[in-house]
């Protein structure tokens, strides 16, 4: 009853005309800026924060969260249309989203991304509203050994991202893990693999690697084929540009899976939407009756990571609002904004400022609906981009890639690096090495190394700390099961072959 009363109060606040207006402004600007590669949610929120500082706190946080989930949705557009992942959590969307675009199904892919974002965003808000405090306390039980186990679970998804060769996928992942070690070691201040270049002291930005291997690699591959005509078919008629009933049916589990995985991973500080998107994609492929369709344009392969990416927003707000702990770059900026407005996030926030908390929850419902209303009509418009002939489209993709990587840190070195990774991406395509595990290793490598080192520091070098705590042990068991799966299947196929030969 308390929740319903709070929600009623929240809708009263969120439906005030000015708050509705700010929610719309946030969603709109978040989507527009979020479409640009390199400008992920944290950069977008930071960029637009000054606009909100003159507002009252409730209107301000409503607009900021609108920007947050608008930006998250925006990232999927370029992933699907151009194979340009604007942020690490959009990498997985490229795998099937761009393949759908190749097959003339860019419209349904964009539509499913919008619908799954809406469903998952709503699930995330419901969960935020109902189980925020107990979940936040649970998340606090996550120490370095549990994070190590979570990262191991995330890395085990490489099994599901592998193409024909598991060894090649693992090599790609370990190369990504190595890239993650580049830069200053925060524990000892030692510069690792920086080749005395000051630009590498902060490490290699995942945006550079993702855009290089995916977008520039794709363009180079098309230069090789001299595909200068229209390479993508865009069907005519609104009906063909929207997801059909079969798509919705195929995605029903993906909506559910992505929403839950996104929320629960989002609650864990530091885990973020990248791991959520990879894990939900992995689960989707693992439970699918046709796992071979994944990576070739399976609609569920778009729905699951997009749902996880958006539901993570609700999850990430749980530790921020209930404990005052920002779990990601974006929530750290939101925390700064809350403090600037004179609020003190923590266990007493809901009690002391119910109008702000419930106003935010209600505005997230409304914002999700606005996101859907705003973006579904734009799907056919965006899909027209693919009507451009190859000789126009590919130089534009290169331009967007350059602007995307340069806008992150304003460093020309990143433009050189994106060219280098582009050539690497092309070679990987030719040699049949998958690119997604490279990004997976790069994004999770740093977190995993920190978790291992902190764990072993805690135990004075006793390795058993990594698997002796119940939560960590459970996750490691899952990891082992996922890794053993392909070995078991291989063994089974040898056994069947041997039996056939004997017969």
């Amino acid at each position: 009853m308390e929740v319903l009363a709070g929600l009623a109060q929240g809708f009263g606040i969120a439906l005030e005309p000015m708050n509705l207006f700010w929610c719309f402004v946030g969603v709109f600007f978040g989507t527009v800026v979020g479409v640009l590669p390199g400008l992920g949610p944290s950069a977008t929120v930071a960029l637009l924060l000054p606009l909100t500082l003159q507002m009252n706190p409730t209107a301000g946080i409503i607009m900021m969260s609108g920007i947050y989930y608008g930006a998250k949705y925006g990232g999927s557009t370029t992933s699907i249309l151009l194979n340009v992942p604007g942020e690490s959590s959009s990498v997985v969307t490229c795998l099937d989203g761009f393949e759908m675009a190749r097959k003339g199904r860019a419209g349904p892919a964009l539509g499913i991304a919008a619908i799954s974002s809406f469903i998952a965003g709503t699930v995330g808000v419901v969960l935020l509203m109902l189980i925020a405090p107990p979940i936040a306390e649970f998340a606090l039980r996550f120490g370095p050994p549990e994070y190590f186990a979570l990262m191991a679970l995330g890395l085990s998804m490489v099994v599901l991202l592998a193409g024909r060769s598991m060894i090649k996928a693992l090599l790609s992942m370990f190369a990504g893990l190595w890239l993650a070690t580049i830069g200053i070691d925060l524990f000892t201040d030692i510069a690792r693999y920086t080749f005395d270049r000051i630009e590498l002291m902060d490490g290699v930005n995942f945006v550079v690697v993702a855009i290089g291997t995916f977008a520039v690699g794709e363009v180079l591959a098309n230069l090789g084929a001299r595909s200068s005509g229209q390479n993508f078919t865009v069907p005519k008629g609104l009906r063909n540009l929207m997801p059909n009933w079969q798509d919705m049916k195929d995605c029903r589990f993906a909506f559910f899976n992505g929403s839950l995985v996104g929320f629960f991973v989002g609650v864990l500080p530091g885990a973020g939407s990248t791991i959520a998107s990879f894990v939900s994609y992995g689960i989707e492929k693992a439970v699918s009756r046709h796992p071979e369709r994944f990576g070739t344009g399976a609609v569920e392969g778009v729905a699951a990571p997009e749902a996880a990416n958006n539901s993570e927003t609700g999850g990430a707000l749980v530790p921020l609002l209930t404990l005052g702990i920002p779990g990601s770059g974006t929530t750290a900026i939101l925390l700064a904004a809350l403090i600037l407005w004179g609020l003190k996030p923590g266990p007493l926030l809901i009690q002391d400022h119910p109008q702000m908390f419930w106003g935010l929850v209600a505005s997230m419902y409304i914002g999700n609906l606005m996101l859907l209303v705003l973006n579904l009509p734009l799907v056919p418009v965006f899909a027209q981009i693919l009507r451009l002939p190859g000789y126009v489209l590919y130089p534009v993709i290169l331009g967007v890639s350059i602007v995307g990587v340069y806008s992150v840190d304003q460093r020309l070195m990143d433009v050189w690096l994106v060219g280098g990774f582009g050539l690497l991406g092309y070679a990987m395509r030719r040699l049949d090495y998958p690119s997604a595990p490279l990004i997976l290793g790069l994004v999770l490598g740093d977190l995993m190394e920190n978790a291992v080192r902190q764990s072993l520091m805690m135990s004075n070098g006793d390795i058993s700390i990594l698997y002796s705590r119940p939560l960590a042990a459970t996750m490691l068991l899952f990891t082992a099961a996922i890794l053993a799966g392909p070995m078991f299947r291989q063994f089974n196929s040898w056994r069947l072959k041997a039996t056939e030969q004997e017969a």
Binding site: V392, Y394, G422, L456
Partner: protein, 160 residues
């Protein structure tokens, strides 16, 4: 012992790729060796990279063995094709030259030149198409990113 014939039938591109990864693994492990493996507080900066280097060496070694074995058994999925590598290389060099020109000439001009080169020489379209698309898209980038979104892109001596 692997017969000479098996070596001859191995896909050389795959072999070179795996050997490059062996070299990368050796470099990663050798550099990691210079840093402390363990410190008094726990694992040092060399701990994680050393194991990554070892894993890269072992896995790429396994890849070489698998490659040779599948070639010998005739189960190879087909040789790596580098057909069309010349335009790829030309396009990549043009991208790198454009990157070098960004500082002195500004983003808009270097992007326009890159586009002209790609359309005229790689896609082999007419000069008219190359110049028209190049100028239109460069102007579009300038308006969208520099003017509307205020993205700080390097400008040339002519102010854009």
């Amino acid at each position: 012992m692997i017969a000479v014939g098996a070596w001859k039938s191995v896909d050389k591109s795959q072999l070179v790729g795996a050997l490059l990864l062996v070299a990368l693994g050796a470099f990663v492990a050798a550099d990691a060796w210079r840093w402390p493996y363990l410190t008094k507080d726990g694992p040092g900066p060399g701990f994680f990279p050393l194991w990554i280097g070892i894993a890269l060496i072992v896995l790429s070694g396994a890849q070489i063995v698998v490659q040779v074995a599948t070639s010998r058994d005739g189960k190879d999925a087909g040789r790596t094709s580098w057909k069309g590598a010349a335009p790829v290389l030309a396009g990549w060099v043009a991208l790198m030259v454009a990157a070098a020109l960004i500082r002195p000439a500004g983003f808009v001009a270097s992007y326009a030149l890159l586009t002209i080169f790609l359309i005229r020489f790689v896609f082999q379209r007419s000069w008219t198409a190359a110049v028209t698309v190049s100028l239109t898209s460069a102007a579009g980038f300038w308006v969208l990113f520099v003017k509307l979104l205020r993205v700080q892109l390097p400008a040339g001596p002519w102010g854009f």
